[in-house]
Amino acid sequence: MDEILEILEKDARVSVEEMARMLKRKPAEIRKKIAQYEKDGIIIAYKAVINRELVKDKNAEVRAIIEVNLVPQKDLGFDKIAERIYAFPEVSGCFLVSGTYDLLVFVRGRDLNSVARFVAEKLSPMEHVRGVVSHFLLKKYKEDGVMLKQKEEDKRIAISY
């Protein structure tokens, strides 16, 4: 993978000028590359990873992972029906997977009720959906390669040979 992507994936705030110095390339060249990555959809978005458990917010949210069994449609496979599912704003992630079910759907809602309602009223009754199993998330340990614990302190002694 291009080192530009490696750097941005770890810290998207590193500036073009800083990257140019790190990689010994011209800023213009880096800027062009990034623009191309954005255009090609390789870089999709820049966002902060937030530990929501620490956010004091009355509008806290509930997350669930839902296994969905589908009946494939002739000539369309799963794509069409998947699209109808992931278009819902409640859906934050959607994957076609191998194994005992077909779609793995990540759902967010204001509270338990709203997620349950989405599953019962929107998802389950859909045509081609054969069955669903819901798992409500209780605690998040790691997400997108980031471990959600207090920042690790530097354990090295401050000066050594």
Binding site: E3, R21, K155, A158
Partner: protein, 386 residues
């Protein structure tokens, strides 16, 4: 009170900058560019192997030379990466860091009065260890050759009492390393004068501009090289204290004699973890190396921009800039920089008394730290213009 300390130890140079180190350790919220070890923790798969070995009850001594399994892994690693073939049976010794290996080999080869050549700047332990073993440490000044040992400079220092040369590349503190061609030229001098090259190649995996060439891989060098390497820098395993020495049977056997009485063996947990490092840890090495290289470009570019002239180090994670611009000597520079900007660096004199115009800057520190430290140093220089 009676003084029990031997004369030999009493005259050993205490590290001239101990007081400065204590100052750093006593201060809070310092950005330290003075750390001589990776800022990564040991990769999880390696730590996990250490934990598993404890769970399984591996808590005993191992053979003096080290676990057979580890010596086999070392043999494979050196064969696959460099085409070296040291026999796990009698040409490899597992030691408590390269530091122990340096001590062992010096004690194993030195008779009273033997001379050991040490290119300066050098790592701090070589000269004191030589003297403790009864030898004479002969410094070779490399300042005018951009910190590189040249064959002519080496040959100039050899006489009939010269027994060995300690060659550390990539070098702590300068980051200097050598191409195959440069090493070939040094080898000719070593073989011609039949001296032992003690090669501390602990930073070998952190070589950025060309492939690292181990000294024993040079044709005809084998009998004249003691090769030292370890896990501390490549796998971020400094605290595990595990390294190895490879070389001619008679030297390894002599070193093993001393090792068996002083150390007995390296901790088995560390040896088991080291096996795992050689087995699966290579991915982490490449990831760390890419990260260090990016920081190197950033910090060396930055130092030169703010007027601290600095060669591009070819390896390790140190920059060794001249601080002449500040008009201060290195110890005053380091002290003032610490007090005024809370940035710690190591004064050059730690690595040789003549290096008063230099400091060692370690870039084994997060990018954010390096960025902030550069800003602070720039402010500092602005205020302390000569």
């Amino acid at each position: 009170m009676k003084n029990f300390v031997s004369h030999k130890v009493e005259i050993m140079q205490p590290s001239g900058i101990r007081a400065f180190f204590d100052l750093v350790l006593g201060m809070k919220d310092v950005i330290s560019l003075g750390v001589g070890e990776p800022d990564f923790v040991t990769p999880w798969e390696i730590r996990e192997a250490g934990i598993t070995s404890l769970e399984q009850g591996f808590t005993s001594y191992t053979s003096n030379k080290g676990l057979v399994k580890l010596r086999l892994e070392i043999n494979h690693y050196l064969k696959n990466n460099y085409g070296l073939d040291y026999s796990p049976e009698d040409e490899i010794l597992v030691t408590v860091g390269v530091s122990e290996a340096v001590d062992l080999v010096l004690r194993a080869i030195i008779d009273p009065g033997d001379k050991v050549l040490i290119p300066s700047p050098s790592y701090v332990s070589y000269a004191p260890m030589t003297e403790l073993a009864g030898g004479a440490a002969v410094k070779i000044d490399t300042l005018k050759d951009d910190f590189k040992l040249t064959p002519a400079n080496l040959e100039r220092h050899i006489d009939n009492k010269t027994k060995a040369l300690i060659l550390n590349y990539p070098c702590n503190p300068t980051g200097v390393s050598y191409t195959r061609r440069e090493l070939e030229a040094l080898k000719k001098v070593i073989v011609k004068h039949k001296i032992l090259a003690i090669c501390d190649e602990i930073y070998c995996d952190l070589t950025y501009d060309f492939a690292h060439t181990p000294f024993p891989s040079l044709k005809g060098a084998g009998d004249y090289v003691l090769y030292l390497n370890g896990f501390s820098k490549s796998y971020a395993m400094t605290g595990w204290r595990v390294a190895y020495a490879c070389g001619p049977k008679d030297i390894i056997s002599a070193m093993t004699k001393i090792h068996q009485y002083t150390i007995m063996c390296v901790s088995i947990t560390s040896q088991m973890a080291a096996c795992e490092a050689l087995h699966t840890g290579r991915n982490s090495v490449d990831r760390m190396k890419r990260e260090y290289r990016r920081r190197r470009e950033f910090i060396v570019g930055g130092l030169n921009r703010i007027g601290l002239k600095c060669h591009m180090p070819q390896g390790a994670f140190y920059a060794f800039p001249s601080i002449k611009k500040s008009g201060l000597n290195c110890l005053d520079f380091a002290r003032k920089l610490l007090n005024e900007e809370k940035v710690a660096v190591v004064p050059g004199t730690a690595f040789g008394p003549e290096l008063t115009d230099y400091v060692r800057i370690s870039y084994a520190s997060s990018f954010d730290n390096l960025k902030e430290a550069l800003l602070r140093m720039e402010n500092f220089l602005e205020r302390n213009k000569k």
